[in-house]
């Protein structure tokens, strides 16, 4: 009776993963109704992601890291070691851990810190916590700002758009590291006198705020471009012709379409923040003692790199694996969400 005899268009995505059952005209027998479940673009992306071996491997790595970071107190109770415990009796007169490979033993699986005598495994596990917390919070903050600003600029256009573009250019023109080097100590002096030590939470908040303030630009540009291209699409006009307001159009019509690229930027922002956070700690404006931190561990270990290279190795390797896994997962995510993109 109609064009229903024509097979549905086969997108490469649909072809690759699932076979689209022939669409038939007329009512279906009730028993077969269950077959008619469409797969959303998101579900297709998820199927593609699940089939990606790199994605699976990196996701597993990150899952392990997340579980370890979340379960850090449990691990501490299991081994009976606190990250601040100092095992000075296991150090020799020069402050170096006794034993091979940085003092690796059945009690201290990754050895001890030279000088302080703290357990490296516990420092590492709690440091992972700090790193992941800062990276995720900052990525969330930056994305929220970026999405809000991008949607606003793309939707409003006109002078507001120009202003936002100008603001983005201005933000990008600031050298981030130098700014952080200058601003973090200044702000700390403003809130704390020389004598009192700043609370660790203050430093963490400061770092998160700095990251958020500097990293919303990429998301904002991306979202702005997406909104500008999507707002001209006819489904937006259809919603408006049906009487939809701006809130409906932005939240129900546009946002579902820009979720995918936002997710990709978040997944690529996190490893960037992990690395930069470590770099900040390395130049001594990161998280302060006694909060364990991977970057500061490396900073501390540099003095012992000739005598005890293991101390450098473990936090370095952890950061490396973490950043690599996040980046690979981000790439896999992008590929699965946009199957047409070729690398």
């Amino acid at each position: 009776m109609s064009d229903l005899s024509h097979p549905p268009p086969r997108t490469p995505a649909a072809d690759a993963t699932i076979s689209v059952p022939e669409i038939q005209a007329g009512p279906e027998p009730a028993g077969r109704a269950a077959e008619f479940v469409g797969r959303s673009p998101n579900q297709l992306a998820w199927l593609r992601l699940k089939r990606d071996r790199t994605a699976r491997a990196s996701a597993l790595t990150l899952l392990v890291a997340a579980v370890v970071a979340l379960g850090a107190p449990l691990l501490g109770r299991l081994t009976g070691i606190d990250p601040t415990d100092k095992f000075v009796d296991r150090l020799n007169d020069f402050g170096m851990p006794i034993g091979y490979a940085g003092g690796i033993s059945s009690d201290h699986w990754l050895g001890l810190e030279p000088g302080s005598g703290r357990d490296i495994l516990m420092q590492l596990v709690y440091g992972l916590r700090t790193s992941l917390f800062i990276a995720f919070t900052s990525a969330l903050l930056a994305s929220c700002i970026g999405v809000a600003v991008g949607v606003l600029a793309g939707w409003a256009r006109g002078w507001l758009d120009s202003l936002v573009n100008w603001l983005i250019d201005l933000t990008l023109a600031f050298p981030f590291l130098i700014f952080a080097l200058a601003v973090i100590p200044i702000l700390q002096d403003r809130f704390y006198s020389d004598r009192e030590a700043p609370s660790p939470a203050f430093r963490v908040a400061l770092i998160v705020a700095t990251f958020g303030l500097f990293s919303w630009t990429y998301t904002a540009r991306l979202v702005r471009g997406q909104v500008i291209s999507l707002r001209e699409r006819e489904f937006v006009d259809a919603a408006r012709a049906a009487g939809a307001g701006t809130a409906h159009i932005l939240l129900r019509q546009l946002l579902p379409n820009i979720w995918a690229p936002i997710l990709v930027t978040v997944s690529l922002m996190v490893p960037q923040f992990i690395a930069i956070e470590a770099a900040l700690a390395f130049v001594n404006i990161g998280v302060t003692e006694p909060t364990p931190d991977l970057g500061r561990m490396i900073f501390n270990s540099i003095g012992y790199v000739a005598s005890d290279p293991w101390y450098t190795l473990f936090p370095g390797l952890t950061i490396f694996l973490l950043v690599l896994a996040f980046n690979l997962l981000g790439d896999a995510l992008r590929d699965s969400l946009d199957p047409r993109s070729t690398r």
Partner: protein
Amino acid sequence: MNGVTNGQAAVAGDAGRLAGEPLLSVRGLTKHFPVRQGLRARGAVRAVDGLDFDVRPGETLGLVGESGCGKTTTGRMLVRLLEPTSGSIMFAGRDITHGGRRELRALRQDLQIIFQDPYASLNPRHTVGRIVAMPLQVNRITPPGGVKKRVQELLELVGLNPEHYNRYPHEFSGGQRQRIGIARALALKPKLIVADEPVSALDVSIQAQVINLLRDLQRDLDLAFVFIAHDLAVIRHFCHRVAVMYLGKIVEIGDRDTIYTRPQHPYTRALLSAIPDVTTLGPAGRIRLTGDVPTPLNPPSGCRFRTRCWKATDHCATEEPALTTRDDGGQLTACHYPESGPVGVPTGEPGSNERT
């Protein structure tokens, strides 16, 4: 402007012939897009320049014309996706020309649009059910029996399987997608649908099916249509009345049969002669227009078609022809020198304008 007075005269003639209160009544509808260079306005693109027409309940009006003549702009103004520069749109006795969103809310339910591109007009991230239910959701309408039941009824109405409720647009063909778009337009039980080239993006074999679907719906639901197309065969198949547009103006408007058999305006004749006819060989009877459509930034004085018309005189350049009844024709024509006689026997000297 004289378009309004002409229009009133035109409508008087029209109304005498066609009884009944018009559902949609357009007077002097104009849309100018400002052209800016820097901050200063530099003139305007006169996309639509003073349209007058009526659509009665259950009637289909075809808007034809070549690309860029303002058909789509007109359609978008009718459903108020674009704000008219001037003129008025009366719908069911109410002036809707400049209403805000709240005032338009009731109107939206009676006046819907079908879009040209079935690939761009459906949100790729929404299920078919959600797409078709969107107008109900936006207007907070809960039909008896629930939203899902209503959506499935609509899908059935447009010839789709109601079980496809949970599917996504990418799983459908172009023709099926257009049916989804039609179901969405029908969700609010409109009285008038603006169909903006609903079939021009479709395969020819599918075009006929969608057109037949629209015609069945029009008959069964007593819908009025403003049907925008550049395909004259489609218009002839679907529309009761036809308005021919050229450069933002209606040059001829009348009943389908009158327009197709005894067109008076030279442009209509040229347009009709351009329909490919497989039964005759060669360019027999084909009126070839020379030159391009003038820019709507600076349209010609007087009759806008005069730069390409083989009958044009100085009179055409100085006085704009009114859209009115000429030589006892059944239609309204905006031409000082209307053609007469059935189509196929060109009375003018089109050959003189023809380059070989």
